[in-house]
Symmetry: C2
Amino acid sequence: MRPVTLHDLAKRCNVSTATVSAVVNGAEWVSPKTRRRVQRAIDEMGYHPNQLARGLKRREGHAVGVIVSDLTNPFFTQIVRSLSHAVRASGRTLSLCDSDHRLDLGESNLRALLESQIIGLVVIGDSVPERALRAFVRARPRVPVIAIERDYRIAQISPLLVDSEHGGFVATRHLVECGSRRIAMITGPSSGAGSATYGRAKRFEGYQRALAESGMEFDPGLVVEGNFRFESGRDAMTQLLSLRRPPDAVFAANDMMALGAMTAVRDAGLSIPDDIALVGFDNVPMSSLITPGLTTMAMPMGELGDAAARLLDAHIAASGDGEPPRVREMFSAELVARASTLGTSPAFT
Amino acid sequence: MRPVTLHDLAKRCNVSTATVSAVVNGAEWVSPKTRRRVQRAIDEMGYHPNQLARGLKRREGHAVGVIVSDLTNPFFTQIVRSLSHAVRASGRTLSLCDSDHRLDLGESNLRALLESQIIGLVVIGDSVPERALRAFVRARPRVPVIAIERDYRIAQISPLLVDSEHGGFVATRHLVECGSRRIAMITGPSSGAGSATYGRAKRFEGYQRALAESGMEFDPGLVVEGNFRFESGRDAMTQLLSLRRPPDAVFAANDMMALGAMTAVRDAGLSIPDDIALVGFDNVPMSSLITPGLTTMAMPMGELGDAAARLLDAHIAASGDGEPPRVREMFSAELVARASTLGTSPAFT
DNA sequence: TTGACAGGCTTAAACGTTAAAGCTAGTGTC
DNA sequence: GACACTAGCTTTAACGTTTAAGCCTGTCAA
């Protein structure tokens, strides 16, 4: 039992396949009578257009590709989710790839998407090597590519960034304002997976600027490198606590490391925020649910997903006019103050 | 600049497209000399097969569809993630749909997947109306459909289930063993989104059986209905605490509600587990990170994703032999005891 | 009466790939 | 020398759509 095709409908209605196609696609010129007859046959026989054939003929696919380095990261999940809704709303389909923090997997994922003739691509975080993307835009000059939280040096790629320098500055200044005098930082990795994300270095720069503007000296001994994961935050914190002069506040480059740091503080029998004040970055859902609530810089996840979808739609709609224009958009993270810096005053349980 | 096609390669190498196709697909009969020549041209010109054309000709797509009711639910995210890896490993592509807890969206997502000629379908949770799936298996009798945590009454659909009756039983018995005498339950919704998931009713049944086997009376006043979300757990707990005789233990049908319940207990100035012992269900990542750690029934998420991928591969490999066989697999949830029932003995911080 | 024109359809050629069937030259067999 | 056989190709017809071009038939203006 083959699926119903335009031919089947055409035979049944004694018209040509072109006419049936016109009805399916809502062309103007079909007479109301024929249109009704064909429409009835479509409903009765249960016809569904074959997007492969359609795509082949129209020389464009119907899928938008998205590559993410780790879907279990709530930051990415939320972006993918809002992206998926937007993509569906415009009648397309989402092809999802999880590169599992491995650049080689990201590259093979990208090839698969290229072959499936995607009509647009969103790359989130540090999931695809620059070289591979360069090859992609060369092979498909008309396909819009959007990078979230990664600033590729490729002219055809539109970056959507969060101003992490400012975010790091605000986070650190908040700690200063809360009375901290020795502020440590747990950074992202300087090499390997995640090291190339836009925010990694910027958060550190913001931290340094805030220290400078507050007249505090920068102590390299208070900077520990993590890898954005829970365990590395815990280990980094343990290391910081073992210093001769431990810090009284810590700015972690993301929430997962901040949460890891939190358990290390607890394990050491110390209290947050009295002994150690703590700020994270991302505002993952968990940060509002734990006790004490984690003060953090909220990333505009929904906005990023929506903006990506909006850009894709615009690019696709304007296709035919050569290459898509490059757009660079900057979003900002907002401070969400919770108990990990403010303490348990009634307003911030 | 059109993408390179088989024709371009054929012309360049003075062979027919059939030969080039044979090289691309690794057919045996091509002479080593020709193979080398063609292979070189492929590399030099940067050829990538067009999966739309290939799929059209072979009468099968290259994508596996997955529909999930809410991607931000970590339980689903982990399944999708392991599924995506398995799908990529077999050279296919993942088409992801998030139905946003709306059955009508799930239905339109399913239609989109149908049109894109998916080669297999995984439906996770309560995301697609049974009627729509029935139509799908009628339209595509050869496409294997796998349902995770949902037991559709459709012969062609293979369900992958977790024995939640037993899980509910073990969870409740654990509370009994920890000394609780009045055990309440926060259930899933009895109607609307999520109400049709396989586990919902089963967890409640297991709870009742454990009470009966422990010789404890079942008190309907200790059962409150939630909707699987954080806030509903918090509200349900508040309601339970306001009873004349509040419970000394609560079994929540999932972790998110248990976490909500936890904040309600804290807000009431009570302690976990001394005043209220708490058990959840799912073992979302957060449950191990909060304080106190949440005792919960661990769902075998990776196993479910892998099993789904394995079944799909088997079905697809055996295609041609008519309809895919229906497989029903049952997995089990395992108790992970943490501080929310055991207290802060050194072993369970 | 002729021609122009428009409405409503059909024809036919693609889109890039695969696969069955056919062809050719060379080898081996008796 | 006729025959079969094989290795290594080519030819050709699809797969299900779309779309440009063409073909009728009827209407209307001149």
